[in-house]
Amino acid sequence: MNLSERLENAAVIGAAGKMGSGIALLLTKELARMKLSPEGQGKVYRLALIDVSEKALDGLLGYVRSQVHKMAENSVGELRVLFADRADLVENGEMIEEFVGQAMSVLRPSTDLNGAAGARIVFEAVFEDEDLKIDLLGRVREHVDPDAWYMTNTSSIPIGGLDRKLELNGRIVGFHFYNPPAVQKLLEMITTYTTLPELKEAGLELAKRLGKKVVPANDIAGFIGNGHFIRDGLHAIGAAERLREGGEWAGALYKMNRVSQDWLVRPMGILQLIDYVGVDVFRCILEVMNRYLPDRGLHCDFIDILAERKILGGQNPNGSQKDGILRYEKGRSVAVYDPERGDYVAFDPNGWTGEADRQLGALPDGFRPWKALVRDRKKDEALAAHFSALRVSESEGAKLAMEYLKTSKAIGEALVKDGVANSAGDVNAVLTNGFFHLYGPINEYTG
């Protein structure tokens, strides 16, 4: 059974979640495309969307419909070719509606695992918790095709362990989409020595069909993306701890967030990124990594305290950022959480934040933020100039940034040395594609 045959009956488990909904959308488009192709004539395509909440599934259908509609509108030229033989479809609008209708007709939402009955390929995107995944996939296995393939959207849990515990005999791969899956180009694919060769091949083909760039990662907890991100975050929190020297957290956290965003020319500060991912998700990944990679310092009291106090970050249903390490108003950070005070400390440009900025010192002359450089073809030259200025600067900001840059590089190099990534290029590809960094961690900017 080839990939296309398997996709005729597919299922997404955890379909209404943040990652699941994006995966569901990508698959809806692909199944609709297959259904409307000459080979798809007369076949029945079904994409089971399984989740625990009826309400969430309802919301998912609305989301998929609106997104498929947008996509159809933006590709009317292709639809005019696709529907060239349909005499009843003449106008752009008629073709768009027909495509959306055909796409929606493949969806089978259900709160019951039996909704996935007979599925030949299963996409799992539930919360990043190993026990939960094992329990759920074990139950899913009772309903789907006995020979089904499993694509698990884990960002940290070793695939080999899941394969053994679920007795899948190599019928599972890590298919790690980046958030949001419908937009992010990067897909980390994790295989083990037991993975079926045909599944590995099909994974690459499917990623291509979904418009993704695949970076292969080996089966070591955290893989490449989180292998770097988690350690990068721990460095920032550790550096803040050292910076405060027993004093106030607020200024130190504020400084590390600014240094990581401005001095390192990243799209967002590291604390904001942890909030975006979710403090609880960060903690879960950290626990998984610590379990599989003990005695490597993969633990963080600060994160534990926040998680216990339900300072969790993540997004509201409308996509806006929830308060985490930072507090947000209209998408901008306005305060930082101080675990000793047990409360947020509001930014005060005339007071402590102004003082922290003064201590960091000025950015190098000609500094341009990430936003200004991202579309600049000569960004490499600009970055080289920026970092060579940092190397000779005595400012606190420059020193923190250089220390950060070196740590980030060391993390990247260790991922290659430890066999998580096959090459420095793969590490850099994950950070530039999945995290939108302008440069990979393994670079010459450290001097």
Binding site: E73, G77, R80, V90, E91, N92, G93
Partner: protein, 414 residues
């Protein structure tokens, strides 16, 4: 050639802002005024310029596709709302695709020439930003021959028809100078629009529109032979003008010096069911222009101002040749020599034209007449050009579809 059997004047011109992408205050997701707002604003502004609105005998609305863009047909019956004096008087809406505005003026002129009216309010209107571009393209494709052309047509149906005309023209007369002349057309449209606060491109601050317009056409992203700068944009707007006989002017209480006189009123129809014989020529445009000039007793060299239907830059070039200002294939040097510029020998589209002022399809023909009246009565403000005795005539060309419904007027000062 028939002459006008009695004098007709145009007066009381009014335009709303021509709104859409390009205007600073435009945001696709913010609510906007609907079609009724535009009709009322333009009509009221026009009527307020006459002392005695009771002298209005009829009203005409030119509109292309409000029934689809706005789900509102029956626009004639909105005129009594704009002007209470029109209640229980004849009002109607006329349609001829993007030539609807010109047809509305024709309808008013016919009423006066037949002695059925002495003063007629004309409003042209279209509100197109109600739908996204790909749906708007469906609606505008109604100006083509649906049963024959639409199924095999492009996503952007009309731009594609004119892209093909451009391709045929490049083939026949050379591409390089033609592309440069199309860019020159765009740049002049933008520069003229910057003098016109009601123009859609009034806020355009591009420091080098000629370079911008030289962007290489890309069939994958848009079309093979033209780029987006070669196209007029999607616009909302309305224009109004009053047509009157000599007696009508007096009854309205409008001084002759505030009116311009029609020297010619011309209309020609092409055959919707046929493709053009030579896509590098606008035959129906040539026919209507020669008819209008003959009626006015004028030559192209007598024109001191031109209002051309530049829905696309290539259409502007083809129109110059159809009118006879340039020989076939010679529009490029005509433009590149600066003859059509604001300070040239015959300024073209001094308020920006369809590309600069905007193209609310049903409004355009009325807008052109209103602009000629403003110019000939010295009321064009920053857009005022000098129309001397050597070239006393202003002429408009308003086109519906792909050279199918053509309307042309020649006006002169009183």
């Amino acid at each position: 050639m028939k002459k006008l059997r009695k004098k007709i004047f145009g007066c009381a011109p009014a335009h709303t802002v021509f709104f859409g992408p390009g205007r600073k205050e435009f945001h696709p997701k913010k609510p906007r005024p609907g079609i009724e707002h535009y009709i009322l604003e333009a009509a009221k502004d026009s009527v307020a310029q006459v002392k005695n609105p009771g002298a209005l005998d009829q009203g005409v609305v030119g509109n292309f596709m409000a029934a689809r863009f706005n789900r509102q047909a029956h626009l004639g019956a909105l005129l009594p709302e704009a002007c209470g004096e029109l209640l229980h008087k004849p009002c109607m809406r006329v349609e001829g695709a993007c030539g609807s505005g010109g047809l509305a003026v024709i309808a008013a002129a016919n009423a006066i020439l037949s002695d059925m009216a002495d003063a007629v309010l004309v409003v042209g209107v279209e509100v197109q930003n109600t739908v996204k571009a790909m749906y708007g393209a469906d609606i505008l494709a109604g100006a083509g021959h649906y049963s024959r052309q639409r199924k095999d047509g492009h996503v952007y149906f009309f731009p594609d028809l004119f892209s093909r005309r451009a391709g045929a023209y490049y083939e026949k007369y050379g591409r390089e100078d033609t592309r440069r002349a199309m860019a020159e057309w765009y740049a002049q449209a933008i520069e003229n629009a910057r003098r016109n606060p009601k123009a859609q491109e009034f806020h355009n601050a591009d420091p080098d529109p000629r370079a911008t317009a030289m962007t290489e056409p890309n069939a994958k992203a848009f079309l093979e032979h033209i780029n987006v700068f070669d196209c007029s944009k999607v616009s909302d707007g309305a224009s109004a003008v009053i047509l009157a006989s000599e007696e009508g002017l007096a009854n309205l209480g409008v001084a002759k010096s505030d009116a311009a006189e029609f020297a010619a009123v011309a209309q020609c129809e092409g055959n919707l069911a046929r493709d053009p014989e030579d896509p590098a020529r606008l035959d129906t445009t040539a026919a209507v222009a020669s008819k209008a000039l003959a009626m006015a007793g004028a030559k192209p060299s007598d024109l001191g101002l031109l209002e051309v239907h530049d829905c696309f830059t290539i259409t502007g070039l083809l129109a110059l040749e159809a009118i006879g200002l340039a020989e076939p294939g010679r529009a490029a040097p005509y433009l590149l020599d600066g003859k059509a510029r604001f300070d040239g020998e015959c300024p073209v589209n001094a308020t920006g034209g369809l590309i600069g002022f905007g193209h609310p399809t049903g409004a355009t023909g009325v807008r052109q007449v209103g602009d000629m009246v403003m110019q000939l009565t010295g009321k064009a403000l920053d857009c005022q050009v000098k129309i001397g005795d050597a070239r006393p005539y202003a002429m408009s060309i308003n086109m519906g579809g792909d050279d199918k419904t053509l309307v042309s007027f020649v006006l002169r000062a009183t």
